[in-house]
Amino acid sequence: MTRRPYERPIIVRHESGLGNKLSRVPALRPQEEIDGVSVEELVKTYGSPLFVFSEQTLVQRQRALADAFAVRWPKVRTAWSYKTNYLDGICRVLHREGAWAEVVSEMELDKALHNGVRPDHIHFNGPFKPESALEKAFRGGTLVHLDNFDELRRAEQVATRLGKRPGVAIRLSVAAEGIPPWTRFGFHLESGQARDAVRRLLAGDKLDLVGLHCHLGTFLLDPAAYREAAGKLAAFAEELRTEHGIRLQFIDIGGGFASHNALKAQYLPAEQATPSFEQYADAVCDGLRALQGPPKELPTLVLETGRAIVDDAGYLITTVHATRRLPDGRRGVVLDAGVNVLFTAWWYRHDVVPTRHLAGIPEPTVLYGPLCMNIDVVRDALPLPPVEAGDRLVLRNVGAYNVTQWMQFITLRPAVVMVGRNGQHGLLRKPETLEALTSWEEVPEWI
């Protein structure tokens, strides 16, 4: 008698209540390659775990964003949000597509300049801009977005010292229904603080107000908030024009567009919940419709989109190290990548895909990282057929924040590579070595 193929024996209880978790499991199509390059080849070349970026997806997302807005507004500018991912390779692909740079610190400003970005093609945000940063910015014509009155005064002093009259923007904090207001940044619009800021700026007569900036939040799933905020910005811009004769060069609606990740508490899967670029564009441009006139008289619309462009372009290849059975019946899987490299595991339910067809019934599984820390949970409540040590898993939509926010903790940080549009691949960041680590350290001589 021919023997049937062997699978680990599994018994899974059916859950009642909020839908059967197992019944909502999408057919797990394995991902054997990324943009035509096999996962195994990538691991063999660069090791595991491994961050992989797809140039094709990056360019597609960037163009889709630009196109969605270009058909609705005559002058659109994308400014790449450096904090989302400031690896040189990623930044240069986007700058090649025409994106400016959006930076929030002197370090990011320097990095942008190091990437060859023109100083006057940079938007400089953030609450922390020391004098050295402001000087550098004003010298080069970088557009500074003022965050608070102290910064305004500091900016005026620096400008005077340099003998320049730079164009600046002010950041507004705007309340929009359905989202928690980020009141710690910018000048509040509704309370009149923004008007005060404008009057103060005009009275100081050292800076030119050329733009308005507003960043509503992060991972906003409802475009309606943008419609409301854009409407308020447009009304404010009109007020500035009629009362002070100011014609703004740009209106910056910041970032915050959601990517195709699902938040942990999110009920709907990403395919259903994440709005398209068109929906965001509709909302923003509809909100701005109070601004009328020929293209020359309209301000440029600036987008600081980060996550929505790069998240989908990033993958994390990880290898199963061990499996265990937890007392509550769930299976535990230990991976070689943990929350030390996948910071976004804290708030997303990342898609996890095997690289080969996994036979068997999905069981409730927990993915752990390699750290000896209880909090190192990469993915909870994941229905997964049985995996063995050595199996590879691909975590998807990890392109945003992970390679900037990751920690070197317990393990050395892995390599980051990019797969090009013609099947070529290469390093974006070398894997860390112990030498590199210890080169930072010094031991005082009395030890």
Binding site: V71, S276, P294, P295
Partner: protein, 677 residues
Amino acid sequence: MDLIRSWSQILFSRDLVVGGLLLVASLLDPWVGLHGLLAALVARAVAAALGLAPLVVGEGLFGYNAVLFGLGVGAMLPHGTWSEALLFAGSALTVVLTAALRDNGLRTGLPTLSAPFLIALWLVWSASPELVQPVPGPDRGLPEPVALGLRALGALLFVPRVEAGALVLLALLRWSRQGTVLGAAGVLAAWAVIEAVPVPLDPSQATLLALNLGLVSVALGGVWFVPSWASLALGAGAAGLTALVSLGAAPVAARLGLPLAIAPFHVGVWAVLLAMRQRAEDRSPRSVDFLPGTPEENLQYYRTRLARFGARYDVRFRAPVRGTWVVTQGRGDGPTHRNEWEHALDLEVADADGRLARDEGTTAEQHLCWHLPVVACADGVVAKVIDGVPDNPLGQVDLDDNWGNVVVLWHAPGLHSLVAHLSPRTIAVVEGQRVKTGEVLGLCGSSGRSPRPHLHWQLQATPQVGAPTLPLELHDVVDAAKGEVRGTWTPTTDDRLRNLVPGEVDLGLPPGTEATFEEDGRPVVIRSEIDPWGRRVLVCGDGRTYHGLHDDLFVVYDTLAPPGSPLHVLHAALARLPLEDGERSPTWSDHLPPRTLVPPWLRPLQDAVAPFVPLEGLHVRYRRVPGDRAVIEGRSDRERGGVPVLTTRAVLAPGVGLIEASQTLRGVTRTLRRRVP
């Protein structure tokens, strides 16, 4: 200087040599010439007293009527204090009349010519007891037609003598060779008439006839119509008409004692110009609807404008949409663009894979162009709005309100544009409202005969909805598939198009400022101005470059400058410049006028042949080299010995503007570099 220009303007010129020759010619009869000078001085004083635009005065445009009047007074009025008084009064009057008629002329488009002079002369006639017609001088052994012609030329200045005429002929040649030829043709015609007419004409009548016919021939053959076979024919016809007027009016004038002078010329030109206005289509001969220059200049300008801009319309049309759209039904295509509605475009939005809708594409809202803004394709006035027609569900059409929601814009007499199938209650303009290019008219929808959301766009002659279409053109729009800015383009099905995005590229030459450049160490000052007619000009010495500055494009219209002028280098390097930012800049091409590119010794030959032989300009391809500063490189298609005949280069630095312009023409390089303080 402007005194001499008053003389030049008698021959439509501002050239000092022309004016000088005419002045000398008039002084051959010192009394006449001096009166001319006196009149010119009076006119200048009056113009200054009235506070007339110094720029216009400087062109001599307020002086030439006075000069003619002065010459006339000197020649025809009896010597005496009363005549001198009339001289002063009349000269002043010509200035006033010129100013009054110029304004009218600008509005109606009819040139003032020397009407003020004629009016002043006739008024003076009534105030003066007698007029003496100047006696034509002897033939001096020249063949009759030649002598007639020279005397006629002299008669222009009221010195009907062959010697004066010879100087005027020199002036005429200096002004325009084609013009001289045209004038000679007119004189020949006059001579033919004189020989043919059974009634013998007295010499002064014959001379005047020749003068009038000669002037008509020049004016209609090359100044107000682009020189061609057709304009020559028109000139001949008009000469005939003028001869009729001349001969017919002569006895009447004689009985009244009125000097006819060049009145028949005026009648002839005005009548023909007005009549030609009534034509259905302005071609063959093509009227000069731009600033008239010499016939050579008119021809060249028209030819290159034809090549660069397309002769069809003066209005420049941009795409009526934002971003990149695709043509889904072009000219003559599909079920609806046929017969009288042949020239129309259906536009939609496609994604990177060519799909027109997202997701399943089963509803109108899923179509990518749904509710996208539709904008004005050119400046204009809203002529008609139809709103309230509901959008159709996908797949259904509304045949009752065929066109759906519509906005018709008036752009110029006989030129309207129409956008149809807009979504109801999204139209943002009202009838009578002025709109500028790029302003939002409404949102794209699916009303009327529209099974799925799309935009229908057409040009038509009347504001009637459903009027037959006019041939359609887009100007300075990007052919997105090729990444090229097309000067004049009629897109067809599957073409993708978008407007240029107004950017921050700037030449740094705002009107009212000056910039100093350097060529071979010598300073070159270029001044940017707006002339009294509202045109943008770059002035360098005696040369001018007329240009247009739109939000998205800088374009040179014409350069009128001596051959060695640095403005020609600027023109070649910057003929047309999209002002769009960005690394992915489209390429573009342009035609450069042939006259300036031909070596000087070849020019007279080219001028003579040009009206009858198609001579295209030089086709140059331009591209923007990516980088910090904007570097624009141009390369002519035509090559010689494997090397392009012309290469150009312009460099613009952020914050400053144009800092370098250079051209290499047949191996010779000229470079202008800006002196930055």
